[in-house]
């Protein structure tokens, strides 16, 4: 009995350590956003601010394009939202049909093609960076939201196809046979049966694509030059005034920029966890 209680005690200590490990940096980030900037620069430990201020938020929201001040937060937020949502829709729309073919048909070259899909997912993005930059720069398509949508769709497509064919494949074969017997065509079967029945998988895939696009930085910073196309990650990296990083603003933009993906992950965690067990990981 004593041994059992000791075990429980150590278990809860362990859980507490896991929580501290996971949440402490996020807590410190939040605290920094409401600490007066003078205090941030004056001391080295910031567990609690001496007074709470919203000046960082106010200054951040006041940022405008070409003002010479803080980067325009809302423009960057708009670009990030447009790019992430469009990429998610586009990658799933295109990938869905390919996944259907891989999941429901047995055709020549199927397994080889499926393996090359997985192989394509592994190609380091940086290999594509140089040719795509040369192509898009020569075509005058740099600093364009649509360019980033196209690039992100390319990256996510092999990943989407791989994940969705797994989810589509787990819909029962008998259902397909009886639906097709009743005169349903393949596209009807895809939209009326496969899509609703694989909804959890589709949701998980959509979240992964959204988060990857929201998180992306390397291409975003290279392919944009103004706030017509700069995303939130680029804006966060650029919070500098007169060569000095305005840390309060930068950290506040970072904190706000982290909220959408975190909320999404927490609300839809059921889907993410089942999607993760399918053997996929966000990069």
């Amino acid at each position: 009995m004593r041994k059992k209680r000791m075990k429980k005690f150590f278990l809860y200590i362990g859980v507490l350590m896991v929580l501290v490990f996971t949440l402490l940096p996020i807590y410190l980030l939040f605290i920094a956003t409401i600490t007066p900037s003078g205090e941030l620069n004056a001391s080295t430990t910031h567990f609690l601010p001496s007074e709470i201020t919203l000046e960082n938020y106010k200054n951040l929201f006041a940022g405008e394009a070409n003002s010479g001040g803080a980067p325009p937060f809302f423009l960057a937020l708009r670009n990030s939202l447009i790019i992430s949502l469009s990429t998610t829709a586009l990658a799933i729309a295109i990938g869905m049909f390919a996944s259907y073919a891989y999941a429901r048909f047995r055709f020549k070259g199927r397994s080889q093609l499926l393996m090359s899909v997985l192989g394509l997912r592994m190609v380091p993005e940086i290999v594509l960076l140089i040719p795509l930059y040369v192509i898009f720069a020569r075509a005058g398509l740099i600093d364009n939201v649509a360019t980033l949508i196209i690039i992100y769709t390319i990256f996510n497509l092999p990943f989407v196809i791989w994940l969705l064919q797994g989810f589509f494949g787990s819909v029962s074969k008998e259902m397909e046979e009886s639906a097709l017997m009743d005169g349903a065509t393949h596209p009807m079967f895809l939209f009326r049966f496969i899509v609703p029945l694989s909804a959890p998988g589709l949701i998980a895939t959509a979240i992964f694509v959204f988060l990857i696009s929201w998180d992306e930085f390397m291409f975003a910073t290279i392919f944009t030059s103004t706030y017509d196309a700069k995303t939130l990650t680029v804006a966060i990296s650029e919070f500098s005034q007169k060569g000095m990083v305005d840390f309060g603003l930068q950290i506040t933009a970072g904190f706000l920029g982290s909220i959408p993906p975190i909320i999404l992950a927490l609300i839809l965690q059921r889907y993410i966890i089942s999607g993760l067990s399918e053997g996929s990981v966000k990069g």
Partner: protein, 295 residues
């Protein structure tokens, strides 16, 4: 007609993959064999056809920068992934026990995973700041260093490398833990009950039941994380910019620097291809492992 149907469904993705992935890769290979060193906007077409053969590759492989960069990248990759597996497995084992609020804690673990890498980089650069960083503050409060004798963690190569590793480990351990936890939960409880009846100690149960059944999940997680860690870019860009004096230069950042900052597109393309050889090696391992699962 019926035979063609699957290919019909594949057409849209074929078009995207061929036009936007395979053609650019071929183009990158072409670029790596020419000498493209100027502003791409000003370049005329004829100048593009200046073949230098393998010159770029020879220059890279005979220089010392590539090899020291590779060594540094491998150091970050292996230490990061090793720590992530070790801490991730410990967390997974804790979360696999019964306790109040288990679902809640598991949800919390998704936060670092969803947390943008660029924000993580900004946050940790601040933690390490020599003048007002938390790491110095806490070390001083605990008496390890004197007030005012703060350490510039990102100021010397070796400590900067390890500082970057810690930032990477914090963000990615959570996902490793969740993946291993999912695998742990699929181990049937009856196995443990049988072992308990036979009087096996908890360490014996871990070594003889948990670990062997967890091994495939560990391997897949290991290979996936290795591939990702090898491509590390955002943390380097924000935290050190490859410095001090190239001390945290990694493969992705070297490619970026050579092309986007110095305009050496061909040289950069060649580095990118050499880098992907390593990633392909990891990918090959991963496909082998998954293929085994599929059959």
């Amino acid at each position: 007609m019926k035979k063609l149907q699957p290919y019909l469904y594949l057409t849209p993705s074929f078009i995207v993959v061929i036009c936007l992935i395979l053609v650019p890769i071929a183009y990158a290979l072409f670029i790596s064999f020419i000498d493209l060193t100027q502003n791409v906007n000003k370049l005329s077409d004829s100048e593009l056809w200046n073949f230098v053969g393998l010159e770029n590759y020879v220059e890279i492989l005979t220089g010392s920068v590539f090899w020291s960069t590779l060594a540094r990248t491998l150091y970050i990759t292996f230490v990061s992934v090793g720590l992530e597996l070790l801490i991730g497995l410990s967390i997974a084992l804790i979360l696999n026990e019964q306790f109040v609020g288990r679902g809640f804690v598991r949800g919390i673990m998704l936060i670092p995973w969803a947390f943008p890498t660029i924000v993580n980089a900004v946050l940790w650069r601040w933690f390490y700041d020599p003048n007002h960083g938390m790491v110095n503050g806490v070390l001083a409060k605990m008496g390890f260093i004197n007030e005012g004798e703060y350490i510039n963690f990102l100021g010397s190569a070796f400590s900067a490398l390890n500082a970057i590793i810690i930032a990477d480990v914090w963000k990615n351990t959570a996902i490793v833990a969740l993946l291993l936890l999912a695998a742990l939960q699929s181990i049937p409880g009856s196995l443990y009950e049988a072992a308990q009846i036979d009087g096996a100690s908890s360490w014996k149960r871990f070594v003889n039941i948990t670990f062997p059944l967890l091994a495939p999940a560990i391997l897949v997680t290991l290979v996936l994380r290795t591939m990702e860690a090898f491509k590390i870019f955002d943390l380097i860009y924000i935290m050190t910019g490859g410095g001090p004096a190239g001390g945290t230069q990694v493969m992705s950042f070297l490619t970026y620097q050579q092309t986007m900052m110095f305009g050496k597109y061909s040289y950069g393309a060649a580095i990118a291809f050499l880098m992907s050889l390593f990633v392909l090696l990891f990918a090959f391992l991963y496909i082998k492992l998954l293929y085994r699962d599929l059959e």
